[in-house]
Subunit: 344 residues, 2 copies
């Protein structure tokens, strides 16, 4: 049975789902083999997933049938389970808690091989609306302290059909906790938000700006850990992603679509991850937080030191990454087929 | 030119080496292609590396020629450069420092396709002696605050010839800093070392013990982030790896060799990383630190959430990992060829 465990020195929470090794080894073997079964996320296979909890669909269509453009379902193999109270227990130096939480899958599009860069802006906006709706719905459950949304794309991802994970957690992940602590420390010294200061400084220098829109700023992070590590922040101080308005969603969708296209034109067979960082919930809500998206491109050209050390080596200067992406975004203004003219 | 940059909210240091994108893209293209040039770490190719700074070699042989069993050379493509003062500078909210430091490669064996599990114990001991000698030598330089030693093995590592990285850093990596802070906090509450408490508790319960020797304990970590994540700790409280004695080196080498063999028998084509965690240097030396090795097996069966969140999902219970490895270690007691009898 799954449980949450806390590492006693670093105070880091981990979910141990407790599968049998034989079952895991079988998954690994299957992944290496050629034969794969049909995609459970493709239209027509709706019966292969649990019943949908949200969908954007043709008004004439029925739930759990074809006719949707975005569909959210509980994960068939959830890391956290929705039922039960959170039981906390100690075992000497160790802390653990039952792994209660929600784990949902946003099936982003009916098209198995699409991605944000090839979708229409309105399609990307639909995905963001699903993120918002699930964030608002799941926070009704008082057991949850954090909503986490993440997507992985590209080679190495087990299911290629575009999808995101939405999780509601009974604990606050270490990174969010560290960001909150860092921001509060910054506030203590300067009485300003650290991310707001970063935005002001980056807009004034311009060298790491990838694209600015009315409401958002896409940046190559000053201390980027990975080549093309990109942050997207609302320019106004907003702590809660779920409060995003329709106009902002449309603008953010356009920015994400253009940026994904630029990255994919620069880097064929691109593998990347997008992670939403937003304020914790309920009594942990922190209005001094500043929500943002972090995009990591997975290139495997770094030193491989980051694991176990927290010491990152990034071969590509963020200023160079920003320059390359600005150039690709400029080209993408022309209505050319992305595959043909923009291949490196 | 390389520089160290600090992320202003999380206070995380990153090295930006500042290569041209065209050069990086070329590296990526070459890796995908079939043709590779001869291995620069194999005997006979000593002229392809910078001059050695340490070697275990046949007394009749000459430096930078064949006849060595372990050879340490400066990295031809160093992340940090050894010359120069550390210049620190601010740019508004951002901190940076010149990327001064040492970056050396331990070429672990003349054999291109060996690994710790297939080496003799004495060969593994030679590698550990090289780690110790370089740790002692590099700490003579007063610019350095941390020695970091890491090795990556298996599919995905650009150079397959067994090697480790030794780096001397002018900053303390985030993870080490967090461990020091966590240990001091634990001391403040209990006046005991947190790792010593973990050792006592794990020896008493036994369920996560992989193997105990006179001086060392190999454990499946209670809150393991990855399947088969393994920690090796000296059972006595020792903060400084470089103070390791010859007898301890021999014992640790045996443990590492058996454990690597067990892992490789359990998981063919194993990719794994080993990272040394040891006390910072000079005025940052912390006698309340407890040095240890962390071993991560790279299976890619987790949820892929850890990036950007610090929230880890591990499908395999540490108790199950310990049970599987204990069984493999038991089988390995028989003097059989590891390839034949132990294939899963």
């Amino acid at each position: 049975m799954a449980e949450l465990r806390r590492e006693p020195i670093l105070q880091r929470w981990v979910v141990i789902t407790g599968q049998r090794w034989e079952a895991l080894a079988e998954v690994l073997r299957q992944r290496r083999g050629p034969g794969r079964r049909a995609c459970p996320f493709c239209p027509g296979n709706e019966h292969e997933t649990p019943s949908e909890v949200f969908a954007l669909r043709d008004p004439a269509s029925s739930p759990n049938r074809e006719g949707w453009s975005v569909r959210v379902v509980p994960n068939k193999f959830p890391v956290l389970r929705i039922e039960g109270e959170i039981e906390r227990a100690g075992e000497g130096v160790f802390d653990q808690a039952s792994a209660v939480g929600a784990h949902e899958i946003v099936i982003e599009t009916p098209s198995h091989s699409a991605d944000w860069g090839t979708m229409a802006v309105e399609e990307v906006a639909g995905i963001l609306r699903a993120y918002r709706q699930r964030s608002l719905d799941l926070r009704g459950d008082e057991r949850f302290r954090q909503i986490m949304i993440a997507r992985n794309h590209g080679p190495g991802v087990p299911v290629q059909h575009p999808h995101s994970h939405v999780m509601a957690l009974p604990v606050i992940p270490r990174r969010i906790e560290d960001e909150v602590r860092g921001l509060l420390d910054y506030y203590g010294r300067k009485e300003r938000c650290g991310y707001c200061d970063i935005i002001r400084q980056e807009l004034s220098s311009g060298v790491r700006v990838i694209q600015e829109t009315g409401e958002f700023l896409a940046l190559a992070s000053f201390a980027a850990r990975y080549p093309f590590e990109t942050w997207i922040l609302p320019k106004s101080h907003l702590h809660d992603f779920a409060a995003i308005e329709d106009g902002q969603i449309a603008e953010l969708a356009g920015l994400l679509q253009r940026l994904s296209r630029a990255l994919q034109n620069l880097l064929p067979d691109l593998a990347y991850s997008v992670v939403l960082h937003t304020s914790p919930l309920r009594r942990f809500t922190e209005p001094r937080y500043h929500w943002h998206l972090e995009i990591r491109v997975r290139l495997a050209v770094g030193g491989g030191f980051e694991w176990g050390t927290g010491f990152f080596v990034n071969p590509l200067a963020p200023e160079e990454a920003a320059r390359l992406l600005r150039a690709k975004l400029g080209e993408a203004q022309q209505p050319a087929s992305p595959q043909s003219s923009l291949e490196p």
